[in-house]
Each structure stands twice: as C-alpha cells, then as structure tokens.
C-alpha cells in the first residue's frame, strides 16, 4: 500500500489537509481583498458604488464566484469528513481529565468546526442581506448602478445587525488566527526558520481582517445613521 497517484493522495489524511489548506487559502485571500474593498466606504457613496459596479459588471466575477463556491463546498465537505474520521480515531472512551497546564492547547485550534459552521451560517445571512438584498438604484456620472451604499447604511443602522456582524467577524478572526498558520503547515511550507514569522503573520492577518471589516458597520452605525 502506498499513497501514490492523485486519487490515493487526495484520499489520504495528508492529501485531504492539503486541499483544506488550498481552499482555506482561496477564501482567506478573497476575504482580505473584500475587506480592502469595503474600506472604500470612507471615500463616500460615489466611489463605493462605482467600485462595486465595476467589480460586478465584469465577466470575471462569474469565474471568481464559481471558484469561491467550489472551494467553499470542498472546504465544508472535507471539514465534515475529517472531523468525523478524527472523532472515530479518538475512540469511544473519553478521558476523565483534560490537560490544564503546560500541555494544554489554544481553544481556537480545537474549535475549528464550531466557528467554521458559524461562518457558513453567517455567509448565508450575509449574502441574503446584501447580494440578494433590497435593490436600490442610483446614477453616478451618468451611469445607472446599484446603490449598495444606501443598503449598507440601511442594514447597519440596526443594532442587531451590527451585533451579529461583530460576533461573526470576531469568529472569522478566530478561525483565521489558527487557519492561516495551518495553511503553511498543510501545504508543507513551514520550516524551522519561518515558523515564528508564520505565527505572527497568522495573528496579524486575523486582527487586520477583523478590525478592517468591523470598521464599516461600526462607522456606519455611529456616524451615518
């Protein structure tokens, strides 16, 4: 028996984690760009709406959406498969005690399935609220386009929506604080010399993404309502 060839590789524990890493990386990259785009809220409605209009009117958006959807489905299916087989490997008899001292581990790394599932729920509510949400129109420099800015202000004027985004985005940060470092591990890119750098990168990424995203609902709620 050998792990050799595409099928064999992809069904091995190591290969599945490789795919988890690639799909996680695709989403982590998208999430970062999305966060940067959102910051345009600070540049005013015209810039914000024109940016969104340009993005969505190019045909490339369908390619990007296809890749993202495929990556997400793969990520979720593999997450479920791995979680189930990992539980089976653990066995039916639990330990009476769990480690508390120097041999305990970060909670975030033990709870990937929990915040991952919350992210899936969030993603659905997020798409329903914005992508498939109320449609307003506006004209910028003579071009008719969707007035997303108005929708953003409408949604983030509601305290409950802001609270839900706060919770979900913190969980996104938690998922990625472990996830980004884990990508390098699963893809085999981590080495003794870059290990510490990757750890800081992972945390910096998670904090920047979470704060970057949060700035929008908080700014809208406090300043534009």
């Amino acid at each position: 028996m050998m792990v050799y060839g595409l099928r064999s590789y992809l069904s091995s524990t190591v290969g599945k984690k490789f795919v988890m890493g690639v799909t996680g990386l695709i989403w982590a990259g998208f999430v970062f760009l999305h966060m940067l785009g959102n910051l345009l809220i600070f540049a005013g409605p015209e810039v914000y709406n024109s940016y969104a209009h340009q993005l969505t009117s190019s045909g490339l958006i369908y390619v990007a959406e296809f890749i993202l959807l495929g990556a997400l489905l793969t990520h979720v299916i593999l997450a479920i498969q791995l979680t189930l087989s990992n539980r089976a490997a653990r066995g039916s008899q639990p330990y009476a005690c769990t480690a508390r001292g120097s041999k305990s581990v970060l909670l975030s790394s033990r709870t990937m399935m929990f915040h991952g599932s919350m992210l899936l729920v969030f993603l659905i509510t997020h798409l329903m609220g914005f992508k498939f949400g109320n449609y307003y129109e506006t004209t910028v420099n003579g071009v008719v386009m969707r007035d997303l800015h108005r929708l953003v202000v409408e949604v983030f004027s509601q305290p409950l929506a802001v609270l839900w985004y706060l919770v979900a985005l913190v969980l996104l940060g938690v998922h990625l604080s472990h996830g980004v470092g884990s990508i390098f591990q699963s893809l085999g890119l981590k080495t003794l010399s870059n290990e510490a750098l990757i750890k800081s990168l992972s945390w910096t990424y998670a904090i920047v993404v979470t704060l970057g995203f949060l700035s929008q609902p908080i700014y809208v709620f406090l300043m534009m309502r």
Partner: protein
C-alpha cells in the same frame, strides 16, 4: 547541609481494566510515605507492593529502561501525557513535582488504534507496523567509518538527530484530539530523509508509511499542537510540515519500480 527527605501521601484514581474486552473502571487508592525522590513509576511500584501484600492484583504498566530512552512507559496523569512536566517521560518524572495530599487521576493512552490490554498498558504495535512499512534503510550503508566519511552539514545533522530522538512512546497520539500519529510519523520520515543514506528509498518510504498510518485508523493533523506539548523528546510540530512536503514531492519524483528494485 543535609535536608530532610520530604515524604508525601497521595490519593490515586487509577484505571483498572482486566482485559481488552473488560469495561474498565476507576479505582481509588492511597499511598503513604512516598519519597519526593521517587520517580512516578517507583511510586506505582510502592503501591503495587502494597496491593500484593493485600492479595490484590497489582496495576499493570509498561516500562523498561526507566531512563527516558526506550519509549515503553507512558500514561495520562490528570489529563496530561507523561504528567505535568514538559520533555519528560513518566519514568523520569519525580514525585517532588507533586504536592502532599494531591489527588491524581491516572489513565492509559486512549485512541482507537491503541487497544487497552490491561490497566495502563496499551497495544502500540500499530507503530511497529508503520516502521515496518518504510522506516528503515535497506541499502548497504557500510560500517561506522563509512558513515563518518560522508560530510553532512551541521544543521542537517542536527535536524536528523532531533527527529531521531523520537522513542515511539505514543504520547503524541494519546494527547491529540484526532488521535493522529503524525508527529511520530514525521519524526521517523524526517530522520531518514535528512541523511544521504535515506535518499535511495526516499519516495516509497513516505508513501508507504503514510498509507500504513491511515490504515491503522489514526486521525489527520489539525496543527493543534497538543502532540508537541506532550512529546517527551521535544519533536517539533513543524516536523509535520516537512512530512507533508515529502509526501507531495514523492508524487512527482517517484519512479515506479526502479529504485526499490535497485535497477
């Protein structure tokens, strides 16, 4: 200056299980007058002598060298593999690290591929089968002088040696929430792949050993790091990244048949 030896008494909740089929349960014991200089296993010896005097079945646990090099010993103490001290096996763990009057819960390694044989003894032959699958060098490597004649860069030699220190105790599997044996597997693969002698079977080794690991029913790595914290030999979590790299590389570099048959 001579100091009095501290003696302590402890309450132990120990997992007792007659056979693999037995349900198993915790039994509570008290041991008195335990020297702080005793090792954890010597403390258990003391309890066993007490049990034998009371005509009870002594607690079964694996041990051999008692100097932290053979990998026979190991169980959970209050949920921590090999107890609370880092980079230490239970045979090298001394009672001075515990408090007088403490209650300690002692359980065997638990994982689907590690069947409990009796009390604290588990079946770790799955590890042997992983080694049999490829953890060896079958080409002639010459004798000691030949080994010394091959120059190896210091960082490489150090890394090979660091990985070679894995004693196969199973603490990594026991602590992992996925019962993954990746740390053990990585240590064994990295040790051999870092040295010139390990190059000949480089691809088939990793491909076979990962296959055996999965066949035995061990889980996948989630880079949680419980293994690294528990490992008495300080095998690094980053070793698993090298294992992942090796398996990926092997998919491209393996030439069927030729290398293993020496053609």
């Amino acid at each position: 200056m001579h100091q009095e030896e501290r003696l302590m008494s402890l309450t132990l909740k120990v997992w007792r299980q007659k056979s693999p089929k037995d349900q198993g349960h915790f039994e509570t014991y008290t041991v008195e007058k335990v020297s702080e200089h005793a090792s954890f296993l010597e403390m258990l010896d003391q309890l066993n002598e007490q049990l034998i005097r009371e005509k009870k079945d002594p607690i079964a646990f694996d041990h051999d060298c008692r100097e932290g090099i053979c990998g026979s010993c190991g169980f959970m103490i209050n949920g921590e593999a090999h107890g609370p001290l880092k980079r230490t096996t239970v045979c090298q763990l001394h009672m001075r690290h515990f408090k007088d009057g403490e209650t300690l819960t002692i359980e065997p390694w638990r994982a689907q591929p590690f069947t409990v044989l009796k009390d604290l003894m588990v079946d770790r032959t799955a590890f042997d089968r992983i080694i049999q699958a490829g953890g060896y060098i079958s080409v002639d490597t010459g004798s000691a002088p030949d080994g010394n004649a091959i120059p190896i860069a210091k960082p490489k030699a150090d890394w090979a040696f660091d990985n070679a220190t894995c004693i196969g105790c199973g603490a990594c599997v026991a602590s992992c929430k996925n019962a993954s044996a990746m740390l053990f597997l990585a240590a064994k693969v990295n040790h051999l792949v870092s040295l010139p002698q390990g190059q000949v079977e480089r691809e088939q080794r990793v491909m076979r050993m990962v296959a055996q690991h999965d066949d035995e029913g061990f889980g996948a790595c989630t880079s949680t790091g419980a293994c690294e914290a528990a490992c008495p030999k300080g095998i690094r979590l980053v070793a698993i990244a090298q294992l992942n790299r090796e398996l990926l590389r092997a998919q491209f570099c393996y030439q069927e048949g030729s290398k293993e048959e020496g053609i």
